[in-house]
Symmetry: D2
């Protein structure tokens, strides 16, 4: 295909960077031409710069590419996927967006800014319109879109069909988050074997605030936050990949179980309508067994882009429902949806 | 001590039975004289009848005792601690209570009966008065007291001081429960390594219903259930011992954090007042680090009889508080409080 | 393909049975028409009769098949793959071999019999000639071939090229075996989290004895055991799948490392020569990193049929070499090679 | 006790440092007066400078002590226990031994030097005589003694009684080493859950070489290495603490099992004769069950100072024996024996 769009990864050697490389290994629209990382990895073959085995398989020809310095993105790259750590992301992303690159970023800085779209594709793809505001206000040559925090991406995908059909007053969520969410080397084995650590820095704040923006409505170029309350408790568990969330939702209208189950099953978003190449056929997969979803068994459904939901029950304490949701933190929670966003930008002619 | 009360264990070889044996190894008031188990173990030395290592250390002389058949409890035994599996508990407990034994049982059958005290000692020791009703109505020669489900015991201990000072409207809990809660061999390693199983049979029903009885008030010989709503989601995690609970509480009165923290810290129950020998000095231990409680680090505080609470935060979604609580499922959740109940029965002259 | 050979599985619902089903899901020569299991599963859909998720994916149409009673194998089935537990295998295998079925069995009984081929395909496919002796002596209408114990299959595949080029005096092996080797539910999570169990019933005997038969030479219809000594120590570790073996070999001739590495890399067996459809292209894969092989990273190389070898070092204590080998216990160690044997039987016209 | 010897710890905040603090918390002969660490921890309360929970309990008053800078050891400290990381140990140890301190070090540099005693107390306490050579040659005001690498300490303790009674030609060992051997944070949970890493940097070299020195004989002020061959393969397993070793030994004389078992059981060393306060009553504990030793069940026998041995079998491949040994890497493998050495130095009047 002669006209594939050349794309690159900032922070290519980290776990999220590796999942970007996996998704871009054989992409029908994008050609991965740039792998940017810190000086330490510069000049190495990509495969040699990685520690351990990538979380998802990467094509041999990508593993043979040279890692380049994150300082020098070539001119012909159009889209940069950023998997940079939070503490350096802002600097590089601003530098490159000003130079004219399209940045789709997994890093947390600026996610809550008024004119930066924070997009979970099946939930609020229309927020991409903020790009017009962004262009006017920031005068960047390029554009910047953020994908949400991993836990939030999984949560909001399941909240969307509930919100649309029944309305939501309150959401109370307790998470059991996999280790790869903390990066590599991340959590020490001495801390987590035979244990749970009931704390993840800044995570609850992100879930509580990003959710309101993502579920908000864009009116006159401004996002009105969704009028609901969200409270989160986040824990780290001895599971390699996958975030499991125990979710309680108080609805505005009364729900019955059948309606909610079919709302989940039938849910499709704009990526499915637009037939984006990475769009999962079923964004939400409902399991009816009494003991699902389980991280090890369900995290790779539709390449990790679907969220698997189970144990949907009426909740009498809160007048709503309770259920469990499981998503792959590196895919639905990070690189997978950033690629979906890029596909949407291309299809919707933002590029 | 010439006048120690002779006691025995029904179901002595299971995990809960072993913790009974540990607590009764050197008890100041009780002498363990009978270890009852199924025919399979009959006649073996107790130490040889156990598989693996006991969860808590058992004195050598107890390990040398002979296991006897659960069918034939000697006459001179006064108190029987029942760690029988649910499917056989009812039969044996009824048989022996009719014969005149005092039964303190960890098994679930009959827990919700009107005239069977369901006691978490620091929370509702006064429910032991139901024994009078029980005696009249059932005409048993002995008496039967139940301790709650493990998850419920941990939960209700922390709810009690909140209820007393602020009132409670709703409780929403998500649990991460250790493996020993499923007995031995219990959960297959193939099911739980790198995984979570978000389902424990009957557990949510027990938590939602036992809590209301335990927090209820005894009026005119009848328990009025506590007027609050409880909703539970229970999961099994790859942790050996200890149940971690993420708890959201909507209170009647507004709380401020300082008050709730001192309510937890200052909380003492009747076992502390009565100076029962097994009563933990602090039933609730508050940890102020941002990443506690953790199962492996906190499950043995005060020999496993205390519940460790942490991450106490105001909850704005529910107008109340949220926090995490950790208790040892085999001690605070089972054998430990049964021994406390026995001590109370003796001190309060029910025997 | 109109003339696929109809095949069946005895013990289809166990872990090895499930891997058979996976390998036979889309086999070019065989059509899976019979799934035999105990009465308990009879009549259920295969997918519903399985507990948990299969270790390797099984096609949807196989999961929809009805499970039949192990007592009644249909007449038109030609080959029966036996994954029966040892305690019942002998009875059924004898019953069906007498009736004329071709049995390829993963069960241990009869493995060391004089006239029963015990075959690790790349190592001793020529032992299939024992079938002629077997037919004469036993007068069975069918025929019976065994595949080795899982640990032995992995070990002997790596010993074969050493034996051929350098001769072997002694082999000392210590194994670290994955949990699925113990079947399901198998090992209790309470026994193995944060632990190792240094004992697997009968395993060391199997390794020490089966190895000598497999590496032996068939002369005049009799296998002469290989003239070497084998000693094994077998342990169970908290790993889901994959057996890791630390192997010390005293050779007859002096070895140099380059030779041994190329002996491993170049090794091909009869299945590769015969181009059997399931034959791995490289039976032995050599990793040159200092920290490989690792069970989680290497167990699925070539669908689990290859053995991955690493850390090949000269051994000065024993005048030979030492190395680590890793194989998938359910594939190279069980179902995978049984399917390879069946392919060889067909290709070599034993059927 | 007015005349306790004031002692200090270099590298007090690491895992080995914490075990030193635990052993010195209430020592009858030593008073812990100095906790030295890097600048980062200087001035903090010891308890606050530790991450996570210490591997063994430390008394409250020690946790309340201030951490001091490793640069400034007070003059009145007599003995310094060094738990410094290898890369800085040499510099500080030389600095302080020249100033006159008695250093007992767990760090690897200099372990193989001719005039530095490398001591596993029950095995070769007489090597302390090298101190006389050391004093003459080095002209240090203080003295320096090393304890062995953790794996070597466990191994050599079990080899000693075999060597004494039967002679040893060769030793082949495969280890399964716990995570705390790699320090904190050490091994990433992402690398080791559901996995084994068959490589530990420099470990095999240490085992193969230190063993020969420790088992050597001191003749005329020089250690003659033991005339035997040792070969090691070292792996890291998902176990918190405890190193399990699968050991094959070729003996000079024929052994029978009874003799070897009683050699293990009856073995006592100089620490037992000298009645050193930390000496375990049984340095080697023999378990006769078929599935012991196990790391989680056996690592704390005699406070972690004993080595637990099991599965002792004749080895016909090597004409000797094979068995498994388990020791606590931080105690028998590090801090515990360093404290034993200090006790011996005091008792034998080297101070």
């Amino acid at each position: 295909m002669p006209d594939k769009v050349p794309v690159g990864i900032l922070g290519a050697t980290g776990l999220v960077g590796q999942v970007f490389a996996s998704f871009l290994s054989e992409h029908p629209w994008f050609e991965l031409t740039y792998l940017g990382a810190s000086k330490k990895s510069e000049g190495k073959k990509y495969g040699d710069a990685l520690r351990g085995s990538p979380p998802l398989p990467i094509k041999e020809d990508i593993l043979e590419m040279k890692v380049e310095n994150v300082e020098n993105v070539p001119k012909d790259v159009k889209i940069l996927f950023s998997a940079l750590p939070s503490n350096v992301a802002l600097e590089y992303e601003l530098k490159y967006v000003k130079k004219g690159y399209v940045i789709i970023s997994n890093a947390s800085p600026l996610r809550l800014e008024d004119d930066i779209p924070l997009v979970n594709p099946e939930v609020n793809l229309e927020h991409l319109e903020l790009i017009n505001i962004q262009k006017k206000r920031r005068k960047w040559k390029g554009l910047l879109v953020k994908n949400p925090n991993c836990t939030t991406a999984i949560l909001t995908l399941t909240l969307k069909p509930i919100l649309d059909r029944f309305g939501i007053k309150r959401v109370l969520v307790t998470t059991m988050q996999g280790l790869s969410g903390a990066g590599y080397p991340g959590v020490s084995a001495l801390d987590i074997i035979d244990n749970i650590v009931p704390y993840i820095k800044d995570e609850e704040y992100k879930v509580e605030n990003e959710t309101l923006k993502i579920l908000g409505i864009l009116i006159n170029g401004k996002i009105q936050k969704a009028p609901l309350k969200v409270s989160a408790t986040c824990t780290r568990v001895p599971v390699l990949h996958g975030h499991l969330e125990s979710i309680y939702v108080e609805t505005v209208k009364d729900v019955n179980l059948e309606d909610i189950i079919s709302a989940f099953k039938e849910f499709r978003g704009r990526p499915q309508e637009l037939k984006l190449p990475s769009a999962p056929s079923r964004p939400i997969v409902v399991r009816e067994e009494e003991d699902r979803p389980q991280p090890r068994l369900d995290r790779l459904v539709e390449r990790g882009l679907s969220v698997v939901v189970g144990r949907i029950r009426k909740d009498y304490a809160l007048n709503g429902i309770k259920y469990l949701a499981l998503g792959h933190n590196l895919v639905r929670g990070a690189a997978g949806i950033a690629v979906l966003i890029a596909e949407a930008l291309l299809r919707l002619e933002y590029l």
